[in-house]
Each structure stands twice: as structure tokens, then as C-alpha cells.
Symmetry: D2
Subunit: 306 residues, 4 copies
Amino acid sequence: MTDSAAQARPVFLGQNQYGKAENRVVRVTRDGATHHVKDLNVSVSLSGDMDEVHLSGSNANVLPTDTTKNTVYAFAKEYGIDSAEQFGVHLARHFVTSQEPIQKARIRIEEYSWERIEAAGEGEHSFARQGQETRLTQITYDGSSWEVVSGLKDLVVMNTTDSEFWGYVKDKYTTLPEAYDRILATQVSARWRFNWSDEEREMPDWEESYTQTRKALLSAFAETYSLSLQQTLFQMGARIIEQREEIDEVRFALPNKHHFLVDLKPFGLKNDNEVYLAADRPYGLIEGTILRDGAEARIPADLTNL
Amino acid sequence: MTDSAAQARPVFLGQNQYGKAENRVVRVTRDGATHHVKDLNVSVSLSGDMDEVHLSGSNANVLPTDTTKNTVYAFAKEYGIDSAEQFGVHLARHFVTSQEPIQKARIRIEEYSWERIEAAGEGEHSFARQGQETRLTQITYDGSSWEVVSGLKDLVVMNTTDSEFWGYVKDKYTTLPEAYDRILATQVSARWRFNWSDEEREMPDWEESYTQTRKALLSAFAETYSLSLQQTLFQMGARIIEQREEIDEVRFALPNKHHFLVDLKPFGLKNDNEVYLAADRPYGLIEGTILRDGAEARIPADLTNL
Amino acid sequence: MTDSAAQARPVFLGQNQYGKAENRVVRVTRDGATHHVKDLNVSVSLSGDMDEVHLSGSNANVLPTDTTKNTVYAFAKEYGIDSAEQFGVHLARHFVTSQEPIQKARIRIEEYSWERIEAAGEGEHSFARQGQETRLTQITYDGSSWEVVSGLKDLVVMNTTDSEFWGYVKDKYTTLPEAYDRILATQVSARWRFNWSDEEREMPDWEESYTQTRKALLSAFAETYSLSLQQTLFQMGARIIEQREEIDEVRFALPNKHHFLVDLKPFGLKNDNEVYLAADRPYGLIEGTILRDGAEARIPADLTNL
Amino acid sequence: MTDSAAQARPVFLGQNQYGKAENRVVRVTRDGATHHVKDLNVSVSLSGDMDEVHLSGSNANVLPTDTTKNTVYAFAKEYGIDSAEQFGVHLARHFVTSQEPIQKARIRIEEYSWERIEAAGEGEHSFARQGQETRLTQITYDGSSWEVVSGLKDLVVMNTTDSEFWGYVKDKYTTLPEAYDRILATQVSARWRFNWSDEEREMPDWEESYTQTRKALLSAFAETYSLSLQQTLFQMGARIIEQREEIDEVRFALPNKHHFLVDLKPFGLKNDNEVYLAADRPYGLIEGTILRDGAEARIPADLTNL
């Protein structure tokens, strides 16, 4: 932060960051005729001693965003990509330790998963994109401490029963009838923060952690008899905290994707929870954080930008 | 088609159609505690004796699009949804046979698939959206003959080897180096036309046909050693025609999703087909039709609108 | 089209085409300190004697799509871009006349428009993207005859009155109340075909034609007292045919973007055509062609792919 | 925040909020035959004493999101929509003051602008959607203090000259050549915070403020001779702070939309800053805050979610 008094303007520069966003890197590893694929979208954001470039336009402290892009591809070769988290750690450490003006690096990665296509013949090199959801991670490093927040988005789930909604406040604008058996559907956006922050400690097994956390989240969604989407949200978060000791904080943004029971009476038909209209907008939006006892909240409140 | 001479304008009305697009219907079927789900996006398009509504604004021949929407939801109750194709047949027949001015109906359906979430406890009513791809069908009926074209879109596939591209024409604008081992990736958009057209004949098993056609397409993609994406396209289509006797015509639009080998030499690294940049635009676009001997081409050339 | 008897498979190859899609080219022309900008998205599609590349993978007749991309950029320099239509004519002629196996070329172009930003100081080189709509053209050439179809998409328009809908068919699924004053809103997708096809004839003034055709379409939308969206569609097309002698055929796809009058009676309020809910899906979809007397219909029926 | 000890689980509930997102409301005001339109997308988010709904599923403190939707439409009638900001103030005050468990309300609004279509005849009721950009506002109220942050997104701008980039850090991954005349293009996402927070003070003229702030931002973009996008960002923010006394803080997220000069030498052509390739990904992403002297930074750092 810098006082721009030199410029005689009543303004000053606040937080700023820069980098190259959405570097699409595909890494193929060949284990004989069996190939493995990692498919990432990597965004680099750097901050530090960057006042001059804003005030005078001097780029003397600026590592070009084009260079950060090159680094992503070079590191994919040099280090391989064991996991998105591990790859982000390599990148963040590099930027902070190699350039004095850069004091902080944040690496965001989206990962797209692929499954093998069954095929006759030898060789395993054919893949189909799997699922709609995207795996996410964000690695932040300031030269001394690490923060890793992983998660996912666009995981669409639905329970066709075991959901109710009643007993709510009624004011003069309330017209909603109470529901004792409704569809509950949402498009999960989740972030979870690891308690790993010190390089001296052993890192979690990032791949196993993701697989198990996703499974915990899904099973809690399926197994909760729900009186409100908030209750389901809490159960999903609590199960993760209970089952995954490497995670201290979970944040969800859960749009309530309304499925309206269609009124078929005008056509002489009874709709016994069979035919629904899947609506687009508006939608309920339920957001919340679940924390391990004693943990501090650090994941920002808004996972989605409207 | 009508001469608008009565209006003393040198214009006349050509082909026209109308209806309600994108009716989102979710149908739940309860088999005890085990639920089944069909999730469709249904678009109705009707044509016939509709000159007056264009010329004078008289709606005397117009069944409102709102009514076509209601019909979709009512039929989901009355007939259930065994398959998108079967459901479309019910709808098309209804519109053509129940309203004299309507001479032709075309029903387009997108289907989204769901897989079960494993959960403890009794009951099977929890689902997660599966895959990125969308299953498609289009049913057309003119009162005497049926045409059913099914297909899929957004199925993303990749071979990490067994693809070459060389021996092509070089003109003064050609700079592309020949490739002897490249990634071949595409986002499959496919349509296939059934030879069922006569109501007296038994319908195909639409669900089984979809499953096997998709499998044929994927295995041909994986098993073809490719000298060009056109060759792969032909193999995919030919395999469907050979394996599925109910299908006479297949059309593909295959964007060539380029994965460029990144030049790492400036950084002192060798890139041995390991690190790729996945590019967005431009992309190659390869389109083609494969037909059964003796069959007529009826699927329009352009599956995608740019 | 080729019989694949040599392959002893009961299949043959139908219509096929290939090329490079979505080449994004920005052309700057400097008239002293005043700059002009053309911003295009160019897609090339070629067809001809291409059986071998499908059947055997031989690329001997294949001009690479990478070369078609290079040609787009080289031609932007060599010929400039007076208009998208003129630029497409240069490209189509080149591909058909320079490569014997290529018998037909189709060039599709999207154009994005920019307006100047007012600024102090000399020089005119600052621009802001204007409007949501995209200008379109498609040029097709088979070595002897030309077809030019231009148009636009994503032009969103609304009349807040002078629209009714009543007197329609009522069947057992009809529940819609008649409307005597409603909002009429649509997102115009339009294509118009020029009667220029012979190189010996002088070309239309493509820029002036676009400006005036768009104006005719908008004024007809605004000035039509509408009893149905079909009537408005016909008036828009007829006005273009009447005012633009260079155009013989117009096709529209007009989604009826429903604005529902919100029922405020439960809250003790009267809604006198003041407060509307703008709905997403489903939407009506009205499509139709208007032709000059004696002209033949050539624009395909489906401008939009669901 | 609540300790869930009662549940004997090692977890507790953190920040949470809920509401109805994306209520699309169109408000027509009739001034005789001249109509005026406000077109908004309103999202409500409420927080307060909501532990029970998460922990036990009791909705006793929950005003249904359906009710918040109804309130939006009812208020559009009762209060009209003078400006998005004013409308948001009405809504936020209502929720906080009418329901005891609700301690904080945040209203986010997107506004779409329309321009009149010129038409013959009397009456002014025809409109076309204007521009690609979306106006934004966020009103937050906790029962005592107000915060209003307005802004815009998707305003795409370009300078075709007066931009350089050189003198930057070079490390072993740097290959970028220096540029002394390049295109500078970005898609502006901006937020600005008003210093109005106390209901006793007069509110700014929200409509005039938006118009003038947008103008300041655009003119600073156009008039800055740029040595880096950071410098342009600072100038845009500083000009707003200087010209608009009602604003204390501005935050920008500026993707650097790269336009690469195409190498035409292989085709024997010279590209004298005339032909550019507009790239999609990756893109530079420059973000920063500019503050009035003495003001506190409150706008979150990340305006965009990757």
C-alpha cells in the first residue's frame, strides 16, 4: 500500500494481484502401452511489491504473465503432475522464492477427470470425459505458511423423497404451501480447507483425500432425511469434518434447484409425486460453513458470483 | 404456402412452424422404495394450415404453445416415460391426429442421465447427474409416416497416441509440420436415423439401441489407428451401420480439439509427447454422413450452428 | 459419394465437409490517427473429392485446416476487410479455384461491432463493444454460382403494449387465459438471402444493406399491432422484402420470451400491467420464411439447434 | 455461531446465509403513451439467528425463500423502481426490520438496459436491449449501517495503439518479446463503494452517479498512454475517486484479452500492426483496488470466480 502523495492526488493503491489465468495443460504419462492423463486449468496470481507498475508504469518488478504461463508448462514436464495440489505447491513455491518482489502466490486449479474407454487390442490410451463436475484446488503461499483449499463444483444431486419443508415463518407475503414429500435437488459447490500449513509436516494424500471427501459428502446427502436444505448442508459438512482429520473447515453454496409438482387436476389427472417441472430461476441459495471445534473460519463466504 | 395477392404485397409465406421449446419434465416412478427417474427437455414444433395467423393474426387454427406444454406434462403422467423416443411418438401422434389444422409434428427431446448414489439404509431414491453428454432424439410424424433420429452431443473423447497426420496438400499458405504421433481429441455430436417408419412394424428397443450404438461409436474411436479424423469418423459410422440393423444413416460433427505439443526447448527441456496445451479456438471441424447401402440421406448436413 | 464395395462393407459415404472453425481475426486500418476496426469470427468449410481420406486415411487431396486458418489471416492483410460478405467472397473463390479437389466452399462469418469511446486529445483509437447482437453472413460458392445469406442473432426486443393473444383453439389441455394487453418480447434470429449469385452482376453495398435491413426489421416490430407473434414475424419479413430489392428470402426464429403478469392479489395489490416475471424456459418458438413472389426457398428451416 | 456440543460432534456452524437468487422482475411505468422499463435480476441473501434450521431442521426462524421472491415482486409494485440501489434499500430494510431472527440482509441486483426503437406512429413502447454490459449493485444492511457497492461487468474495451510493454523481469522461463505498440483490450469488471452509510444523510443520485462513473472509467481507459495494464487500471480508479465524491473505493478485475500480431512473413507479407488473432485462453488477469485517502478497503479481492 502506497501513499500517492507524490502524485498530489487524493488516492492510494490497495490490494492488487496479477497473473495468467486459465492455462490449459494436459499431461500424458506413459507406463509402457498404458497411458495416464492429468487435465488441468491452472491460474496463477502473484502479489508483492508492485506499486510502481501501477503508479508510473515501470515493469521493473513485473515477471510477465507470459512467463508464468511458460512456467506452468515447464513444471508439468519437470515435476510431473501427481495431483493438482502437489503441482500447485511446486508452482507457488517457485514464484515466491525465485523473485524478490513477489511475496505471495496463489495458484488455482480446475481438474477435469477422464475414464478409460474399453477397447479391444493392446494399449490403454483412449479416454472419455467423466462427469459434469470439476475438481478444484487453491494453494496460497506467502513464503512461510501454506493454505490449501480444495473442493468441487457442478456436482448435481437429487433425492426424490425423504425431504419436507414446513413450520416456517409466515408473513403477509407468504403463499407457499407446506410440503411433506418433495424432491430435493442441488448443484453442489464445496470448498474444504486442509489443516496442513507447515512444510515440515507431511502432506496429506491429496488424491485419496479427494476421493473420500467426495464420497462422504454424497453419502451424507443421500442418507439425511431432510427438513430443510440447511439441515442437509450441515450434515454434509459435519460428516466430512468427522471422517477426514486433514480437513478443518468446509463451505457449501447449495442452490435449491426447485422441482415443482405439476398441477394435473385441470386434465382430470392425479399427480401422486410423479411429474415435476424442473425450474431454472429463481432458485433458493443456501450457503454455510462447518468448522472443526477450535478451528478458525478462513474460506470466503461467497463461492459463487451472481 | 399462400400467395398474399389479397394483400397486394409482392411477398408470400413459406415454411413455418411453431410450438413450445424446452419443457423440462422430470418423471419419478416408484417401484416400492426403489425410485426410477427420467429427466427430459422436450420441444414441440407443429406445422400445417397456419397461413391466417401470419397474414391476419387470426388464431382460429392455433393450438396455444401453452397447451402443448400442458400436454407434455399430462402425457408424462398418462403414458409414463419408457424412453424418450416412445414418449415423443405419443406426443407427435396426439398433435397430428387431434387437431385438423396440424399436419405435422416434430418432437425434439434432450435426456439427462442420472446414476444412483450408494447409501446406507433402505430405499433407493438418491441420484447424481452422470456424464457431460446429452442423449437426443427427434420424432417427426406427418400423419402417415414416422422418422426417428436419435443421437448424442458433448461426448468428449481422446486418444493419446495412434494418430498421425501427414501427406497432405501444401500450398503457399501451408506451414503445418507433419505429425507422426499426436493426440486426437473431439467432442462427438452424432445423429443416427432409424429405418422404422411404419407404425405397423414393431418399434426397436430404443433403450438397448442407444446403449449399443454409443458403445459401438466409442469402441471404433478407440480402436482405429487414425491417419486423419475423417478416417476415424468413417470407422465410427460404419461400425454403427454394421452392428445396428435398425439404423440406416449416421451423421457426425467432430470438432478437432487441438492439443499442441508445447515447445520446451527454450527452457532446456525435451517434450517427448508429454506436455500439451489444450486449445479452444480455432478448431478443425470434420463432418460427414455414413449410409447403409441403398439408404437415402435425410439428416441435415449442419448439426451445429456457429 | 462412393460405394465402399472395395471394403466389402454394406456402407457408403454421404455428404461430407471439413475446415477450420472460429478463426478470430481483428483487422485494424489506420487512417492517420483515426483507426478503424473489423472484428470477425471466420469459419471455413470445404467439400469435394474427399472419399479417400475417409476410406483409407490418405490426405493427398486434403488442404490442412491449419492452412485454411493461415489463409484467413493472410487475406485480411492482402485484401483488407471492407465487409464480412466481401471478405468471404475472396476466401471462397480462393479455395475453389486454387485446389482442384475442392469443389465447394462455404464461409461463415460472425461480426462483432464496436463504437468509439469519446476521449479528450488527438487520435481515435479507443472502442467499446456495442450491443449484444451478432451480425452474420454465409457465402457459398461451387465454382459457378454464389449464394450469400446474411443475418443477425441475439437482438433482443420488447413491446410493452399493443400485443394481444386470444381466439385460439381450446382442447382438453388448454388452460391459458386470453390476453388483451401483454408484453411481446423476443430474441431475433434472422437470415436473409440476397439474389446476387452471378459474378458478372454488381454486388450489393453489403454495409448499407445490413444497416437498412436491420432498421426495417426493427421498425416493423415496433409498428405492428400484434395479435400473435406469427403476425409480427410476417410483417418483419414482408417489410424487408418490400424495402430491400437485393433480398429475396427472409427466415426468422423468434423465441417468445414470456413475461408473466405477477399475481399480486394475495398481497392486496392490483397489478395493472406493471410488474412482470421474465421467464427463462419453456418459451414459445415461432419460425417462418417470407419470400419475394417467384423466389425459391433455400434457407434451411432450423436456424437454432436445441 | 453455535457450539454443537449438544450433538457430541466435534463440529460447529460458521457463517451462513440463505435467500432466493435471480428473481427476474420487469417493471413497466406508463407515462401516458410513453412507457419506461426497468429490467432487474434480484438476489436476496439473509442471515441471523439460523442455527436451529441447520442443527435440527426446525424452520421456526426461517422466512421461506419463496416469500422473499414474492416480496421482490410486491415491492416493485408498491415502491416502483427508481433505481436498482433505491429498490435494494427498500428490500433490505424490510427484511431486517420485519423479522426478528433476520439480522442482516444483502440484496444483489443486476440491471439490463434497454434503448428505444425509433418507430412511426404515436406511443413509445418499443425497446431493444442495449449493450453487452450489466450494471450491478449490492446493498447490505445490518439494522444500523448501510453499505452500497455498485459496478458493472462485461464492458469490453480496446485501444488499438498507445500501449507498450517492456522493461520487465526476465527469468529462465521468459520468452516474451518486448512490445512498443500493441493492442490493449479488456473486459471490465468493476465495483465501487459509496461512502453513504447513514440513513440520516441524503442518498446520492444513483442514476446520475452510475452514468458519470462509467463515463470517467471509459475516458480514463481511452486517454491513458499505457505502459502496462496495471497503470491503466490505476488511472481508471483514480479518475473515479477524483471525480465522484460519493465514492471512496474502486476495485477492478481486468482480464488482458490478448490480441497477437499474426506472423505473415511465411506468406511474403508484412504485418504492420494490422492483422491480429484474438485469443481466448490463457489471459492475463490484473486486479487492484484504488482508495480515497483515509478510506478503508472493504470490497473483496476476488470479483471473479474461476
